[in-house]
């Protein structure tokens, strides 16, 4: 079993507090990463509301809504998983995190199908059989859409890997601590929250 307490800390409780704070500060940084894109989209909507709405109209609202439900559900499972770990019900925690990771993969598959559909409809900037945006503003909307959702999808991918890793380690003799799982959970909730902002901005501004 590896040592739990690391060098600079004199007691484990303080180390756990530090781990938590480190994750929170990192998430603040991540929020600024997406914040820049959100502000860019906000500026576009302010200056060119009509093309923005027209482009938003052409996104697949059903796929976006299903994905919202998928991500919110997986976030719930991660929260339950962390509580299960706190109660030492590691088997339950493994299941919860494992299913959450699978939901993350489901999100990516749905997103991928959406991208493919947009590719076919000429909505992917610089790629596809033809380009059909209708207006320069709509093209910029699609630029922003692909960068924001692409960056988000990358975060989903990282989150899935972390959840799967946690689920895997829970089955072994040195399972991750509650704070460890909560930190992964916090990251996953951020991925979730970013989507909660992106979804209405991109899909519902029609």
């Amino acid at each position: 079993m590896t040592t739990l307490r690391h060098e600079p800390f004199l007691d484990i409780a303080r180390q756990r507090e530090a781990d938590r704070l480190g994750m929170v500060v990192f998430l603040a940084s991540e929020a600024m990463l997406f914040g820049a894109l959100v502000m860019g989209l906000l500026a576009l909507r302010t200056f060119q509301p009509a093309p923005f709405a027209a482009a938003s109209e052409r996104l697949n609202l059903l796929a976006g809504s299903v994905n919202t439900a998928v991500l919110l559900t997986s976030s719930l499972l991660v929260a339950i998983g962390a509580e299960a770990r706190a109660l030492n019900r590691n088997r339950l925690a493994t299941w919860m995190l494992g299913i959450a990771a699978l939901l993350g993969i489901a999100f990516l598959i749905i997103k991928g199908r959406e991208y493919y559909q947009e590719y076919g409809e000429g909505l992917m900037p610089g790629a596809g059989p033809y380009q059909d945006f209708g207006s320069p503003g709509a093209r910029m909307f699609m630029d922003g859409y692909f960068v924001a959702t692409g960056l988000h999808a990358f975060h989903v991918l990282v989150g899935v890997a972390m959840l799967a890793g946690c689920a895997w380690r829970l089955r072994r003799s040195d399972p991750p601590s509650k704070v460890g799982i909560e930190n992964v959970g916090l990251y996953w909730h951020l991925v979730d929250v970013v989507w909660v902002f992106l979804f209405p901005i991109l899909y519902l501004s029609r």
Partner: protein
């Protein structure tokens, strides 16, 4: 001060190869390359940063030397127009992201924050090492961009030049800065968590050295501003690689959006460079005056105020970019506001000196150089914040001179001050004090001779980034190049006498400057674990005069 460190040939011979403190220090805790490259000791990581950024400084300074030599004659003495563009781009990119931003935080912040707050290491030692590797990976991309022919966009990567028109290795350079940004973010997280969670018993927020306060403010900027640059560079790279058009007006994009995003990071980045420098000066001034720092809380909170207001002034880079007059007016006002906390600090340092018994040592001379040059840079910054003057001197040498007074006159001078102040602590040896003073004076004079003429050139209308100029500007350009030579000498000298001191310098005592602060209570150089027992802090910071060399601040 004592005469320790003064040149004395007879004693120099007697300098021992290895003192007892050195034998037990972090420097001798394993001598293999592996023990250095896989270390998680914050002090060793600081030394890794010190050596690597010295290398980057040399490369970027070479680029600057080429520019200055080129400008000796009106038609350009050395470089083609294209070569000149590549030289100033490399100079800017490397100096900003691979020297100035990591300089004081990653070398002295890493080394000193745990020592100053009574901790054994940073909160996340492995993350700390990882951030050095990430930084070096970014550095390798920069070197690759340089070796494959360079970049000609300027360090600002303005679109649509960088996204559509520029040839050269723009994507490599963007990747380099992108990667270095992650190193910044990890360092920022480490600082914030360390300062929150690893302070020794009794080390309350009101007892933190101001060096730690300014690094806290810096870390906030690192964590909150850097990701905006990251995503901006990502967008430019996506535009070059995949044909996205976010900044391309032909495709519905908005080049001005790039400037907004870029300066949202890059103006706070100026405070990433100068806040740590202010922290250094806040330590050097009370130590030299042997007096309590005047107005502790004003200096502490003004750091946070600078970090906060610094986020709201980016539009002053865009007064002539066609942003609305109302936006410009607000940004102009906020840019004047951010000068207030900076001025508070300068007044407080000056008030600290009043009636002090001042030791005119090398470190203090560098600190004085900082104050003088920073005031010049700050006051011209106020001029530039005013709309009417900015329209007149925008993109001229006036701007170049202004930000060099802040970044080089301010940050680099403070970096050298820190080097002279903490060198005995880091390596356990005293350097030659006389040479230290000579180089402090050389840097101050050389700097002014280099950059003051550039204020005049700019006011007369010499635009920045031109490789040739009308003949009537030649005198001032030659003066500036001559000053650069002096400045270069001032920077090269410390490299020689500091390295010489490693082997031949007199061993340093634990507290050679009779300064307060926990770092002066441990041996020079410190042992790997910093403190044998966790210190308990019972006194206020800067509690001068010291009753005893080893009394705890």
């Amino acid at each position: 001060m004592s005469r320790a460190g003064l040149h004395d040939a007879s004693r120099e011979e007697a300098a021992p190869l290895r003192t007892p403190a050195e034998a037990q220090s972090y420097l001798n805790d394993g001598n293999s390359l592996r023990s250095w490259l896989l270390t998680t000791d914050h002090k060793r990581i600081a030394i890794l940063y010190l050596t690597s950024i010295t290398g980057f400084f040399a490369i970027a300074a070479t680029a600057a030397a080429m520019m200055r030599l080129n400008l000796l004659t009106p038609q350009g003495a050395l470089l083609t127009a294209e070569g000149y563009n590549r030289a100033f781009t490399m100079h800017g990119v490397i100096m900003v992201w691979f020297f100035l931003i990591p300089s004081i935080p990653n070398v002295f912040g890493n080394f000193l924050i745990p020592l100053m707050i009574g901790a054994r290491d940073m909160a996340f030692p492995r993350l700390n090492l990882a951030s050095w590797y990430i930084f070096m990976a970014g550095g390798l991309f920069t070197l690759a961009a340089l070796i494959f022919g360079g970049v000609d966009t300027g360090w600002t990567f303005y679109t649509p030049l960088s996204s559509t028109y520029a040839n050269g290795n723009v994507v490599l350079a963007l990747t380099a800065v992108f990667i270095a940004g992650w190193s910044s973010i990890l360092t920022g997280i480490n600082f914030i968590v360390t300062i929150h969670k690893l302070r020794a018993p009794g080390m309350t927020w009101g007892r933190l050295p101001l060096f730690v306060w300014t690094h806290y403010a810096t870390a906030l900027i690192l964590v909150l501003a850097t990701p905006v640059l990251t995503v901006t560079l990502l967008l430019v790279a996506a535009e070059r690689l995949f044909g996205l058009g976010i900044f391309n007006p032909a495709l519905g994009g908005d080049p001005l959006l790039f400037q907004h995003l870029f300066w949202f990071y890059s103006h706070p980045a100026v405070y990433i460079m100068v806040l740590p420098a202010m922290g250094v000066v806040s330590e050097l001034v009370p130590a030299a005056a042997h007096k309590k720092l005047f107005g502790y809380w004003f200096v502490a909170y003004s750091s946070l105020a600078i970090a906060l207001v610094g986020f709201l002034v980016w539009g002053h880079h865009m007064f002539v970019s066609g942003q609305s007059m109302y936006a410009s007016t607000v940004f102009s006002f906020l840019s004047l506001v951010v000068a207030v906390p900076s001025a508070i600090k300068v007044y407080n340092w000056t008030a600290t000196l009043y009636k002090g018994s001042i030791a005119l040592n090398a470190a203090f001379l560098f600190a004085m150089g900082f104050i003088g040059l920073f005031v010049m840079g700050g006051l011209t910054g106020l001029m530039l914040a005013l709309l009417a003057i900015d329209v007149h001197v925008h993109d001229t040498y006036f701007v170049v001179a202004h930000f060099h007074y802040i970044m080089v006159g301010g940050a680099v001078t403070a970096y050298l001050g820190a080097m002279h102040f903490w060198w005995p602590k880091m390596f356990g040896r005293m350097y030659n004090e006389v040479w230290g003073r000579i180089s402090a004076v050389l840097v101050f004079i050389g700097f002014n001779v280099t950059f003051f003429p550039q204020f005049l050139l700019g006011y007369m209308g010499m635009p920045r980034r031109y490789h040739e100029y009308p003949p009537e500007f030649q005198t001032l350009h030659v003066l500036s190049t001559g000053g650069a030579g002096l400045l270069g000498l001032g920077y090269a000298l410390p490299l020689i006498y500091l390295l010489y001191s490693l082997r031949h310098g007199e061993p340093a005592s634990a507290n050679p400057w009779k300064a307060t602060g926990l770092e002066w209570t441990v041996p020079s150089p410190p042992p790997t674990h910093n403190f044998e027992d966790t210190p308990i802090v019972v006194r206020e910071p800067y509690d001068y005069p010291l009753s005893h060399d080893s009394s705890i601040a």
